[in-house]
Symmetry: C2
Subunit: 412 residues, 2 copies
Amino acid sequence: MSSKLHDPFKTSFDSLDEYADLISQVLKCPITIEDANHRLLAYSTHDERTDPARISTIIGRRVPEKVINQLWKEGTIPTLLKTKEPIRVKNMEEIGLSHRVAISIWKQDEVLGFIWALEIDQSLKEEDLALLKKAADAVKNKLLQLQTRKNKKEERFQEFFWKLLTGHLKDQEEILEHFHALQINPPATFAILVFQFKKNISSKEEQWISYLLQTNQRIKILLYTIDCNQLIVLVSTDTFQNPFSELEQFVQVFVEKMNERYGIKDIISVFSSIYEDYQLIGKAYEETQSVLAIKNKFPYETKHIYNYHKLGIYQFFDLLLEKRKVEPYENYSLKKLHEYDQKHNSHLVKTLEVYLNNDANINDAAKELNVHANTLTYRLKRIAEIGEINFKDPNQKMMLYLDLKLEKYKGI
Amino acid sequence: MSSKLHDPFKTSFDSLDEYADLISQVLKCPITIEDANHRLLAYSTHDERTDPARISTIIGRRVPEKVINQLWKEGTIPTLLKTKEPIRVKNMEEIGLSHRVAISIWKQDEVLGFIWALEIDQSLKEEDLALLKKAADAVKNKLLQLQTRKNKKEERFQEFFWKLLTGHLKDQEEILEHFHALQINPPATFAILVFQFKKNISSKEEQWISYLLQTNQRIKILLYTIDCNQLIVLVSTDTFQNPFSELEQFVQVFVEKMNERYGIKDIISVFSSIYEDYQLIGKAYEETQSVLAIKNKFPYETKHIYNYHKLGIYQFFDLLLEKRKVEPYENYSLKKLHEYDQKHNSHLVKTLEVYLNNDANINDAAKELNVHANTLTYRLKRIAEIGEINFKDPNQKMMLYLDLKLEKYKGI
DNA sequence: ATACATTTTGGGGATTTTCACAAATGATCA
DNA sequence: TGATCATTTGTGAAAATCCCCAAAATGTAT
């Protein structure tokens, strides 16, 4: 057998499964075909030899997330996304993966999916790899068909989602019908997630996002769409024990992966409260937007805050900023401290802020300020004197904290 | 000489000073005449023997405050206010007071003033005391004249003050003219003080108030008036180093004395910021009223707060209460804790509040709660679990504090 | 009534924090 | 330039807080 051999895949089948079986027969090993998001498209059945990773993939109709993660870390997937050649993947027992060969399926410069060939008994030879490459080419058209069909469905998703977000669908019955028409199981409880990117999201990035959302197995994504620099997602929270911490973990992982895998940094993410009533999707969306607005104003302070409930005092900041702009109030202590800083070019205000940020913990604050704890103690003594502050009075401390944050953003 | 003796005081003089000299000549000792507020009205000059207390009184044209305080504590003044008989006052070196006899001057059941007779060389005899009583009676009419003249002046004061408080006088020049017409030296800086009594202020209480204000030497009272249950005072703050702490001390002392001397409790006192512009007296007044409104809502929390600047977060409470009424927000942690309290009839919310009131100090809070410190530690651990609270996060703590206070007063 | 979970209290040691003092450095002003 | 004041850092002892354990008390459910 040479690479000039007659192409055994130049036949047309109705389903991808038949392709999988054919490839399996030719190469004499189990075959799996996935789309670009590692969803299972087809798998060969004639061969019963397999490995745990493949079993999980077939059972869950998608590649398990930890396998994907491992393949990213270890470099297989990045390579597959770069080359059209078959890639040999070594044994990775810890995730139940035995020896195998993978190849990506290309349409021009875009990856449509992957074929996996397990090397259970013997390794594939050079000519087998050439055959695999031919198989990948043959499968391409079938995948393209699937994709266009998917795109059309996608458009209907988009339309529906925007109607929900903008509150155009007022009737519960109607909404449920739409869900069913799109074959989405309507969730009992849901939330809106929004990821705000630095710049408008390009179509390349859109693909990456899509990939990340599809391959995640942490959370059930119902709908998602992109609006300028925002990725808006509707997720089901039905299966969660602690919905908020689960959502928090998810957004953190998402942001982390966008950075690790694609080098996209500074994504600001938020999510809404948990709702049951589909008519309130618009409200949930508004909620995310108001949280985003505050996070944009106070990025440092709200770094670890993702939803309205956790905003804490920042919930009030719009209101308070307004009040402060209107009335001629001035915080006496802060004024004094600013004057002192000005005169002696010291950093008492900054010191105070870090101290309060750190919950009045001298050690932590000193660490953040890179000074000796005694230095901070001394400064605080001075701050208390100059600003006439009693650090034992929670009311005073709170007011200082609020006014510190408020004066930072009075200009906005 | 007997008590049936011809009355030597049955003559009429133009000024009180002449009376003082006459009495001095008859009794052969220095004489001082004061009004009901211990302001010097007249003093004899023919006799040069005197004591430090009398010197200070004459120099300052009023009895020194510490002397008045001592005479109250030791019982002289209370007795003088009860009896028409002469009272012998023993030597009190610590305040520079040598032996003397005092008598009050009465018009029906009201005390108009006092006559003091110093016993420098020899004690007054029984017949001298009888003479003194006659003298007191003779002086009465002169004092009455003074008083009615004062009352008329008082009325003009009142009218002017109310015009200032209600902002009816807009012209700086005009205001200054009024001040001068009333022989008040216009202060460079001033503040408004308001004392809110439990009940409407009776005319009896009005006299006590007047007495306390007049005899105080801590602060310069420019004008005062009474409105239902409020005493409103305009004071000069020109001579103060730390105006706020001086004002604070003054109001505390005032409230204390109203209680000690007259048994009037639960006076709520506030004062405005320091102003320079007389046109802003109305604003200062409004400020006191808004602080009073908040102190009425949060009496416990604002017990030690007297002015707007010190209100701290309570400045915002009207605004925040409004916001909370409008939107359907609920503090998740507090909700959980309330539910727990309900179910297990425990006191986690109360515990949390006391803990936060005490600036997260375990010992202080435990003391206030009358439980062992370890008990509080345990409860806090439970509170953190149940309410999903991180006590190291100042934002969370602040929000809890705010919501705790807010929910207490949502009904108002 | 009994078993079980929760809460309260206490002891005592480890760990931190606080405090006072001293030395060194930096800034300021005549 | 020296004298003075403000600031920073270090040290070590005293005080306080934290933490773990266990016993007792209380409440709860079967």
